[in-house]
Protein backbone atom coordinates (compact mmCIF):
# COMPACT_ATOMS: atom_id res chain seq x y z
CA UNK A 1 0.00 0.00 0.00
CA UNK A 2 1.54 3.29 -1.10
CA UNK A 3 0.55 6.86 -0.37
CA UNK A 4 -0.44 7.24 -4.05
CA UNK A 5 -3.13 4.61 -3.58
CA UNK A 6 -4.37 6.10 -0.34
CA UNK A 7 -4.30 9.91 -0.07
CA UNK A 8 -5.32 9.63 3.59
CA UNK A 9 -2.12 7.72 4.31
CA UNK A 10 -0.17 10.65 2.83
CA UNK A 11 -2.06 13.00 5.14
CA UNK A 12 -1.30 10.77 8.10
CA UNK A 13 2.40 10.79 7.22
CA UNK A 14 2.25 14.58 7.31
CA UNK A 15 0.61 14.36 10.74
CA UNK A 16 3.46 12.08 11.81
CA UNK A 17 5.87 14.85 10.84
CA UNK A 18 3.92 17.32 13.00
CA UNK A 19 1.48 18.85 10.51
CA UNK A 20 -1.64 19.45 12.62
CA UNK A 21 -3.64 20.94 9.73
CA UNK A 22 -3.38 17.63 7.85
CA UNK A 23 -5.01 15.99 10.83
CA UNK A 24 -7.87 18.46 10.65
CA UNK A 25 -8.56 17.28 7.08
CA UNK A 26 -8.70 13.68 8.29
CA UNK A 27 -11.05 14.55 11.17
CA UNK A 28 -13.30 16.45 8.80
CA UNK A 29 -13.44 13.52 6.39
CA UNK A 30 -13.95 10.69 8.88
CA UNK A 31 -15.90 12.26 11.75
CA UNK A 32 -19.32 11.21 10.43
CA UNK A 33 -18.42 7.62 9.50
CA UNK A 34 -16.70 7.08 12.87
CA UNK A 35 -19.61 8.55 14.84
CA UNK A 36 -22.05 6.47 12.75
CA UNK A 37 -20.13 3.31 13.60
CA UNK A 38 -19.96 4.11 17.33
CA UNK A 39 -23.56 5.31 17.50
CA UNK A 40 -24.85 1.96 16.30
CA UNK A 41 -22.97 0.20 19.11
CA UNK A 42 -23.37 2.66 21.99
CA UNK A 43 -26.90 3.59 22.89
CA UNK A 44 -26.34 7.32 23.29
CA UNK A 45 -25.48 9.92 20.65
CA UNK A 46 -23.55 12.12 23.09
CA UNK A 47 -21.50 9.19 24.32
CA UNK A 48 -20.83 8.12 20.75
CA UNK A 49 -19.59 11.62 19.95
CA UNK A 50 -17.39 11.76 23.06
CA UNK A 51 -15.89 8.40 22.19
CA UNK A 52 -15.33 9.53 18.60
CA UNK A 53 -13.44 12.53 19.97
CA UNK A 54 -11.32 10.14 22.03
CA UNK A 55 -10.73 7.97 18.95
CA UNK A 56 -9.32 10.90 16.97
CA UNK A 57 -7.15 12.00 19.89
CA UNK A 58 -5.85 8.45 20.18
CA UNK A 59 -5.10 8.41 16.45
CA UNK A 60 -3.12 11.63 16.83
CA UNK A 61 -1.20 10.28 19.83
CA UNK A 62 -0.41 7.09 17.94
CA UNK A 63 0.70 8.93 14.81
CA UNK A 64 4.37 8.19 15.51
CA UNK A 65 3.60 4.45 15.32
CA UNK A 66 1.70 4.71 12.02
CA UNK A 67 3.05 2.61 9.14
CA UNK A 68 1.60 2.66 5.64
CA UNK A 69 0.85 -1.06 5.54
CA UNK A 70 -2.88 -0.76 4.94
CA UNK A 71 -5.46 1.90 4.17
CA UNK A 72 -5.65 4.66 6.77
CA UNK A 73 -9.36 3.98 7.25
CA UNK A 74 -8.61 0.37 8.25
CA UNK A 75 -6.26 1.62 10.97
CA UNK A 76 -8.73 4.28 12.09
CA UNK A 77 -11.68 1.87 12.33
CA UNK A 78 -9.53 -0.68 14.17
CA UNK A 79 -8.74 1.93 16.84
CA UNK A 80 -12.39 3.01 16.92
CA UNK A 81 -13.62 -0.55 17.38
CA UNK A 82 -11.04 -1.36 20.08
CA UNK A 83 -11.96 1.74 22.07
CA UNK A 84 -15.64 0.99 21.62
CA UNK A 85 -15.20 -2.59 22.88
CA UNK A 86 -13.16 -1.29 25.82
CA UNK A 87 -16.00 1.09 26.64
CA UNK A 88 -18.54 -1.76 26.50
CA UNK A 89 -16.30 -3.86 28.79
CA UNK A 90 -15.87 -0.95 31.18
CA UNK A 91 -19.65 -0.54 31.34
CA UNK A 92 -20.19 -4.21 32.00
CA UNK A 93 -17.72 -4.00 34.91
CA UNK A 94 -19.21 -0.77 36.27
CA UNK A 95 -22.85 -0.88 35.29
CA UNK A 96 -24.73 2.38 35.72
CA UNK A 97 -28.37 3.18 35.31
CA UNK A 98 -28.95 3.76 31.65
CA UNK A 99 -31.20 6.55 30.50
CA UNK A 100 -32.40 4.11 27.85
CA UNK A 101 -33.49 1.52 30.39
CA UNK A 102 -37.08 0.52 29.87
CA UNK A 103 -39.41 2.27 32.24
CA UNK A 104 -42.47 0.14 33.10
CA UNK A 105 -44.69 3.18 32.64
CA UNK A 106 -43.67 3.78 29.06
CA UNK A 107 -42.23 0.48 27.94
CA UNK A 108 -44.13 0.68 24.69
CA UNK A 109 -41.98 3.67 23.72
CA UNK A 110 -39.01 3.07 21.37
CA UNK A 111 -35.46 2.96 22.76
CA UNK A 112 -34.35 5.91 20.65
CA UNK A 113 -36.28 9.02 19.95
CA UNK A 114 -35.67 10.98 16.79
CA UNK A 115 -36.25 14.64 16.57
CA UNK A 116 -39.15 15.18 14.22
CA UNK A 117 -38.42 18.33 12.32
CA UNK A 118 -41.04 17.69 9.64
CA UNK A 119 -44.81 17.78 9.66
CA UNK A 120 -45.78 14.96 12.03
CA UNK A 121 -49.16 14.50 10.39
CA UNK A 122 -47.85 13.51 6.97
CA UNK A 123 -48.54 9.74 6.81
CA UNK A 124 -45.49 9.01 4.66
CA UNK A 125 -43.23 10.71 7.15
CA UNK A 126 -44.76 8.83 10.06
CA UNK A 127 -44.23 5.60 8.18
CA UNK A 128 -40.68 6.59 7.28
CA UNK A 129 -39.99 7.42 10.93
CA UNK A 130 -41.36 4.06 12.00
CA UNK A 131 -39.25 2.30 9.40
CA UNK A 132 -36.15 4.14 10.54
CA UNK A 133 -36.85 3.04 14.11
CA UNK A 134 -37.37 -0.55 13.04
CA UNK A 135 -34.13 -0.54 11.10
CA UNK A 136 -32.21 0.92 14.04
CA UNK A 137 -33.80 -1.63 16.36
CA UNK A 138 -32.97 -4.51 14.05
CA UNK A 139 -29.37 -3.26 13.75
CA UNK A 140 -28.97 -2.79 17.50
CA UNK A 141 -30.15 -6.35 18.12
CA UNK A 142 -27.41 -7.83 15.93
CA UNK A 143 -24.27 -9.18 17.62
CA UNK A 144 -21.53 -6.53 17.76
CA UNK A 145 -19.25 -8.13 15.16
CA UNK A 146 -22.08 -8.65 12.65
CA UNK A 147 -23.30 -5.09 13.09
CA UNK A 148 -19.80 -3.62 12.78
CA UNK A 149 -19.11 -5.69 9.67
CA UNK A 150 -22.34 -4.55 8.04
CA UNK A 151 -21.78 -0.91 9.00
CA UNK A 152 -18.24 -0.94 7.64
CA UNK A 153 -19.42 -2.61 4.46
CA UNK A 154 -22.07 0.04 4.06
CA UNK A 155 -20.16 3.05 5.38
CA UNK A 156 -17.06 3.15 3.30
CA UNK A 157 -17.68 0.34 0.85
CA UNK A 158 -14.74 -1.42 2.39
CA UNK A 159 -13.44 -4.64 0.96
CA UNK A 160 -13.92 -7.92 2.80
CA UNK A 161 -10.15 -8.03 3.39
CA UNK A 162 -10.14 -4.65 5.11
CA UNK A 163 -13.13 -5.54 7.28
CA UNK A 164 -11.43 -8.83 8.19
CA UNK A 165 -8.38 -6.86 9.33
CA UNK A 166 -10.48 -4.57 11.51
CA UNK A 167 -12.45 -7.43 13.03
CA UNK A 168 -9.28 -9.53 13.36
CA UNK A 169 -10.85 -12.59 11.79
CA UNK A 170 -10.45 -14.56 8.60
CA UNK A 171 -11.87 -13.56 5.25
CA UNK A 172 -14.38 -16.43 5.25
CA UNK A 173 -15.47 -15.59 8.81
CA UNK A 174 -16.02 -11.97 7.75
CA UNK A 175 -18.13 -12.99 4.76
CA UNK A 176 -20.11 -15.27 7.02
CA UNK A 177 -20.66 -12.47 9.58
CA UNK A 178 -21.98 -10.12 6.90
CA UNK A 179 -24.15 -12.82 5.38
CA UNK A 180 -25.66 -13.86 8.72
CA UNK A 181 -26.20 -10.25 9.75
CA UNK A 182 -27.97 -9.45 6.48
CA UNK A 183 -30.12 -12.56 6.73
CA UNK A 184 -31.19 -11.56 10.26
CA UNK A 185 -31.98 -8.04 9.08
CA UNK A 186 -33.98 -9.37 6.16
CA UNK A 187 -35.99 -11.63 8.44
CA UNK A 188 -36.74 -8.83 10.88
CA UNK A 189 -37.58 -6.28 8.21
CA UNK A 190 -39.36 -8.67 5.88
CA UNK A 191 -42.87 -7.31 6.58
CA UNK A 192 -41.68 -3.84 5.58
CA UNK A 193 -39.58 -5.00 2.65
CA UNK A 194 -42.36 -7.12 1.16
CA UNK A 195 -45.25 -4.79 1.85
CA UNK A 196 -43.81 -2.31 -0.64
CA UNK A 197 -44.06 0.56 1.84
CA UNK A 198 -40.34 1.21 1.59
CA UNK A 199 -40.54 1.51 -2.18
CA UNK A 200 -43.54 3.80 -1.98
CA UNK A 201 -41.83 6.10 0.48
CA UNK A 202 -38.74 6.24 -1.70
CA UNK A 203 -40.77 7.28 -4.71
CA UNK A 204 -42.57 10.07 -2.88
Amino acid sequence: MSTNQDPDAALMLRVKEGDVSAFEDLVEKYKQPVVNLLYRTLPDATEAEDLAQHVFLQVFKSAHRYRVSAKFSTWLYTIARNLCLNEIRRRSRHPADSLDAVNPENEDQPIRQYEDTKNPLAPDLVLQDELARKIEEALSELPENQRTAIMLFREDEMSYEEIARILKCSLSATKSLIHRGRETLKQKLKPYLRSGTWREIKRS
Partner: protein, 171 residues
Protein backbone atom coordinates in the same frame (compact mmCIF):
# COMPACT_ATOMS: atom_id res chain seq x y z
CA UNK B 1 -30.12 -14.86 -4.59
CA UNK B 2 -30.45 -18.56 -3.88
CA UNK B 3 -33.00 -19.94 -1.47
CA UNK B 4 -31.62 -22.06 1.39
CA UNK B 5 -32.61 -25.22 -0.52
CA UNK B 6 -30.87 -23.99 -3.64
CA UNK B 7 -27.83 -23.12 -1.59
CA UNK B 8 -27.67 -26.67 -0.28
CA UNK B 9 -28.02 -28.02 -3.83
CA UNK B 10 -25.26 -25.72 -4.99
CA UNK B 11 -22.96 -26.81 -2.15
CA UNK B 12 -23.71 -30.45 -2.86
CA UNK B 13 -22.96 -29.94 -6.53
CA UNK B 14 -19.68 -28.20 -5.74
CA UNK B 15 -18.73 -31.11 -3.45
CA UNK B 16 -19.45 -33.50 -6.33
CA UNK B 17 -21.51 -35.78 -4.04
CA UNK B 18 -25.09 -35.65 -2.94
CA UNK B 19 -26.73 -37.03 0.16
CA UNK B 20 -29.86 -39.15 -0.39
CA UNK B 21 -32.02 -36.29 0.85
CA UNK B 22 -30.37 -33.96 -1.64
CA UNK B 23 -31.10 -36.40 -4.45
CA UNK B 24 -34.81 -36.20 -3.74
CA UNK B 25 -36.78 -34.25 -6.34
CA UNK B 26 -37.28 -30.60 -5.62
CA UNK B 27 -40.68 -30.29 -3.92
CA UNK B 28 -41.95 -27.01 -5.26
CA UNK B 29 -39.84 -25.69 -8.10
CA UNK B 30 -42.29 -23.01 -9.12
CA UNK B 31 -42.85 -21.59 -5.68
CA UNK B 32 -39.08 -21.73 -5.11
CA UNK B 33 -38.59 -19.62 -8.18
CA UNK B 34 -40.94 -17.03 -6.82
CA UNK B 35 -39.31 -17.26 -3.42
CA UNK B 36 -35.87 -16.75 -4.98
CA UNK B 37 -37.16 -13.73 -6.83
CA UNK B 38 -38.64 -12.32 -3.61
CA UNK B 39 -35.33 -12.99 -1.80
CA UNK B 40 -33.45 -11.17 -4.52
CA UNK B 41 -35.86 -8.27 -4.21
CA UNK B 42 -35.33 -8.25 -0.42
CA UNK B 43 -31.57 -8.11 -0.96
CA UNK B 44 -31.90 -5.06 -3.18
CA UNK B 45 -34.30 -3.40 -0.75
CA UNK B 46 -31.99 -4.10 2.18
CA UNK B 47 -29.04 -2.58 0.29
CA UNK B 48 -31.09 0.53 -0.33
CA UNK B 49 -32.21 0.70 3.29
CA UNK B 50 -28.63 0.42 4.54
CA UNK B 51 -27.49 3.06 2.06
CA UNK B 52 -30.21 5.39 3.26
CA UNK B 53 -29.57 4.89 6.97
CA UNK B 54 -29.65 8.31 8.61
CA UNK B 55 -26.35 9.69 9.89
CA UNK B 56 -25.79 9.78 13.64
CA UNK B 57 -26.30 13.23 15.16
CA UNK B 58 -23.06 15.17 15.29
CA UNK B 59 -22.47 18.57 16.82
CA UNK B 60 -21.30 21.30 14.50
CA UNK B 61 -18.22 22.11 16.58
CA UNK B 62 -16.95 18.52 16.70
CA UNK B 63 -13.88 19.20 14.56
CA UNK B 64 -12.93 22.32 16.49
CA UNK B 65 -13.23 20.46 19.81
CA UNK B 66 -11.05 17.61 18.55
CA UNK B 67 -8.50 20.03 17.11
CA UNK B 68 -8.38 21.97 20.35
CA UNK B 69 -7.51 18.76 22.21
CA UNK B 70 -5.01 17.83 19.54
CA UNK B 71 -3.25 21.21 19.75
CA UNK B 72 -3.10 20.92 23.55
CA UNK B 73 -1.60 17.47 23.16
CA UNK B 74 0.96 18.73 20.64
CA UNK B 75 1.87 21.61 22.96
CA UNK B 76 2.23 19.31 25.97
CA UNK B 77 4.40 16.98 23.90
CA UNK B 78 6.72 19.78 22.86
CA UNK B 79 7.02 20.98 26.48
CA UNK B 80 7.48 17.64 28.18
CA UNK B 81 8.27 14.89 25.69
CA UNK B 82 8.95 12.21 28.34
CA UNK B 83 5.61 12.69 30.03
CA UNK B 84 3.84 12.81 26.68
CA UNK B 85 5.53 9.58 25.61
CA UNK B 86 4.53 7.89 28.87
CA UNK B 87 0.92 9.07 28.45
CA UNK B 88 1.00 7.86 24.88
CA UNK B 89 2.24 4.46 26.06
CA UNK B 90 -0.52 4.24 28.69
CA UNK B 91 -3.15 5.22 26.13
CA UNK B 92 -1.90 2.72 23.59
CA UNK B 93 -1.90 0.04 26.31
CA UNK B 94 -5.49 0.87 27.17
CA UNK B 95 -6.60 0.82 23.55
CA UNK B 96 -5.26 -2.71 23.04
CA UNK B 97 -7.39 -5.79 23.33
CA UNK B 98 -7.50 -7.57 26.67
CA UNK B 99 -5.47 -10.53 25.31
CA UNK B 100 -2.64 -8.20 24.30
CA UNK B 101 -2.85 -6.34 27.60
CA UNK B 102 -2.79 -9.63 29.49
CA UNK B 103 0.22 -10.84 27.47
CA UNK B 104 2.07 -7.58 28.06
CA UNK B 105 1.28 -7.61 31.79
CA UNK B 106 2.33 -11.26 32.05
CA UNK B 107 5.63 -10.44 30.33
CA UNK B 108 6.29 -7.59 32.78
CA UNK B 109 5.46 -9.80 35.80
CA UNK B 110 7.66 -12.59 34.44
CA UNK B 111 10.55 -10.16 33.89
CA UNK B 112 10.13 -8.83 37.43
CA UNK B 113 10.10 -12.39 38.84
CA UNK B 114 13.26 -13.33 36.93
CA UNK B 115 14.97 -10.15 38.18
CA UNK B 116 13.96 -11.00 41.78
CA UNK B 117 15.30 -14.56 41.46
CA UNK B 118 18.54 -13.22 39.97
CA UNK B 119 18.85 -10.69 42.79
CA UNK B 120 18.34 -13.39 45.44
CA UNK B 121 20.83 -15.71 43.76
CA UNK B 122 23.44 -12.96 43.54
CA UNK B 123 22.86 -12.13 47.27
CA UNK B 124 23.43 -15.74 48.29
CA UNK B 125 26.53 -15.90 46.14
CA UNK B 126 27.97 -12.82 47.82
CA UNK B 127 27.37 -14.30 51.32
CA UNK B 128 29.02 -17.58 50.31
CA UNK B 129 32.01 -15.74 48.88
CA UNK B 130 32.45 -13.69 52.09
CA UNK B 131 32.26 -16.85 54.25
CA UNK B 132 34.94 -18.46 52.11
CA UNK B 133 37.11 -15.36 52.45
CA UNK B 134 36.78 -15.22 56.26
CA UNK B 135 37.29 -18.94 56.78
CA UNK B 136 40.57 -18.91 54.88
CA UNK B 137 41.99 -16.04 57.00
CA UNK B 138 40.88 -17.02 60.53
CA UNK B 139 41.77 -20.67 61.10
CA UNK B 140 40.05 -22.43 63.97
CA UNK B 141 42.24 -22.99 67.12
CA UNK B 142 43.45 -26.52 67.87
CA UNK B 143 41.42 -28.70 70.27
CA UNK B 144 44.27 -28.66 72.93
CA UNK B 145 43.52 -25.03 73.62
CA UNK B 146 39.98 -25.93 74.62
CA UNK B 147 40.85 -28.64 77.19
CA UNK B 148 39.99 -26.47 80.23
CA UNK B 149 37.26 -24.51 78.43
CA UNK B 150 34.39 -25.65 80.71
CA UNK B 151 36.33 -24.96 83.94
CA UNK B 152 37.32 -21.50 82.79
CA UNK B 153 33.76 -20.74 81.75
CA UNK B 154 32.42 -21.65 85.23
CA UNK B 155 34.88 -19.32 86.99
CA UNK B 156 33.23 -16.31 88.68
CA UNK B 157 33.65 -13.13 86.71
CA UNK B 158 35.12 -10.33 88.75
CA UNK B 159 35.83 -7.47 86.54
CA UNK B 160 38.77 -5.25 87.45
CA UNK B 161 40.14 -7.54 90.20
CA UNK B 162 43.15 -9.77 89.60
CA UNK B 163 42.82 -13.28 91.04
CA UNK B 164 46.24 -13.50 92.59
CA UNK B 165 45.63 -16.96 94.09
CA UNK B 166 44.74 -18.37 90.72
CA UNK B 167 47.75 -16.79 89.09
CA UNK B 168 50.00 -18.34 91.72
CA UNK B 169 48.40 -21.75 91.27
CA UNK B 170 48.87 -21.56 87.56
CA UNK B 171 52.53 -20.71 87.96
Amino acid sequence: MRSPDNNEMHKANSRGKRKPSENAPHPQPLSDGREAEADWDDEIQLNQILERLPNAPLSSNFTSRVMSQVRNEALARSRNPWRANWNSFVDSFRSREWTQRFALSAAVVLAAFVCFIQYQASGRKEVAQSVVAVSSVADLPSLDVLVNFDAIKRLPKKSGEVDVELLAALK
